[in-house]
Amino acid sequence: MKIELNDPRITAFAIGELTGDDAIELARVVCSDVRIAKAVEEARDTARLVREIMSPDGATMLTREQLIAVRSAGSSPVISEIASSTRISFWRKPAVSAVGIAAAVALVLFIVGGKKIEDSTSAENKTPKWEWINADTICLMLPVSIDSETIKNKGQISDAVRAVSAAMSNDTEGFRKTVRQRIESIEMKAVDDLPDLDVKDWQDVSVSQKIMVPVASGVASWPWIERHITYSGVLPSRRVVRIEEMINHFTYSKPKMLSNGKVTASIELCQTPWNPQTQLLAVHVHALPGAEVSEAVASLVVNSEHVKRLRLLGYANTLTEEGKEPTTHAPMLASRTRGNYVIYELLMDNKKADLLDHSSVALTLGGDNKLTTERPKAWIEVSHDMRFASMIAAMGMILSDYPTSGILDADQLTEMIDVIEKTDGASLVEERKKGINLVRKALQIMQKSP
């Protein structure tokens, strides 16, 4: 069934007026198309409101929370006694109760176990089907890189992370869709089970500083933020505000500035719009078709004489001590279909700020393959992609009370959006328009908050 968002059958289905084959088909679409599912829920919300107010026997629909509980039970249905005041989601059942993220992931490992199941439904598709699809929702939402302090049992957790990492690499769109669906149906309280990540604050740049560029990002952040803002009208919990995930929710032009046959990459440098003392460095890395994703590696070489300190806008821990490997234990496999876009903030040596040039930062893909930056441009002069990505990063920094220098507040963010809409308006794709709308809604909520 082909159905668009403005199809009257959506409302008919939401209020029980669609029957027979049409209902069967639309139920199928609801289960497979998140946009249509959302449209049905919106119609139901309106119907519920109107019916409850206007009809004497008004309350004839389940509440949104009850619908979520029904759908959550579909993953691991356990019939409990009816409790009118509590709904127990499947992930809170005794088998999944966790004392910490390590325990939850270890339990998931019992399910995932690194096993492969042959896809028996498709004779032509010989690709093993990972059990990640049955993994606990919390595992699917784990950040891509987990540092050693979070891990209690390195061996077990890294197996689970490998399974999820492989899914993110081999079936990126399927993984994104699954995580989104799970997030839309899980209870809001699930955010309390997510790790509280330390954002990476400024780090001094030492001589011969090598920085591994993250080649993958998780996918949970933006759906959670959407759910908080759009469905609940509240600002998201800090635990779900992950800047690199927010940035990589959106798609960007394929990088072309540097390639080694396995990876292609681009870098861009500009003045930070909210802080004249720093610069933003955008790095975009994309595995090429046919490349072994484990070979998709890129690193930055930073001139410590020019750049005093830097930080990744996000949580990934990829800064190495001189000569040592990064302290991340999670294999970060690049996606076969999507690149990874990250932003660093650089703090120059004040005395040498004017010297920031092509010798300050270089991107390398190994060997002699190197790309250096030009002098930083004004923010308004950089690419559409960098303007948009940095605006999203700014939103994340505000939402998570990121330690910032300079002035980054709602007004600054509004100004950035206005510039983007004015300069890129005609070329803004639907995905980015929706992103901007969500940012505006977040700003409205902030203005209403005390």
């Binding site: 409302t11 639309l26 199928r28 919106e42 119609a43 107010i53 004839t60 249905p77 009118s84």
Partner: protein, 179 residues
């Protein structure tokens, strides 16, 4: 229901799809039905929630042909379980009196509800006349699309379109405090 063998493979439903369809078609009549047994709206909703959760455990092939009957049977059994558990299987007269007491609103609540009704109706009145009529018949009078079609002379398709367009517009114009 699909009977054509040619489309049988296409029309095989998963549990999730069956439950979505069941929610769409039966949540309202099931809640109404459960309420006649337990005389409490919140409990009725809980019972129906539980019924749909049980549906997930079923073999789709075995229940889809008799879905309505299955749902109402399970719903009734759950409702009676609730009554037994809470020892509310009392004399019918007492039960009816208790239910009536628990659902009486205070004068303040009644006044507040009347205000909300007036407010929502004022927003509905801003819609084009035919949309407002269709929505009022549907949600205030409880008419089905077919009944609205018979009442107004419009086709079923037109009725569906008017309600869809009207609801969409209402979503846009209703103030947040009413949502």
């Amino acid at each position: 229901m699909v009977t054509s063998k040619d489309t049988e493979q296409d029309m095989i439903e998963t549990n999730a799809e069956l439950v979505e369809r069941a929610i769409s078609e039966y949540q309202s009549p099931l809640i109404g039905f459960a309420r006649t047994i337990v005389h409490d709206t919140d409990r009725a909703r809980d019972i129906v929630q539980d019924t749909f959760i049980r549906l997930y455990q079923q073999d789709v092939g075995k229940v889809r042909d008799g879905l309505k009957s299955w749902l109402f049977t399970v719903c009734r059994n759950r409702a009676l379980d609730v009554l037994r558990k809470e020892k509310r299987l009392v004399l019918v007269e007492d039960e009816t009196l208790n239910a009536k007491d628990s659902e009486i609103s205070s004068p303040g609540e009644i006044a507040a509800k009347n205000d909300r009704v007036k407010l929502v109706k004022s927003y509905i009145a801003r819609l084009p006349q035919n949309q407002a009529t269709a929505i009022t018949l549907k949600f205030e009078k409880g008419y089905s699309y077919k009944e609205i079609s018979d009442e107004t002379g419009l086709t079923n398709g037109n009725v569906g379109f008017l309600i869809h367009a009207g609801m969409k517009r209402l979503r846009e114009i209703l103030p947040d405090e009413l949502k």
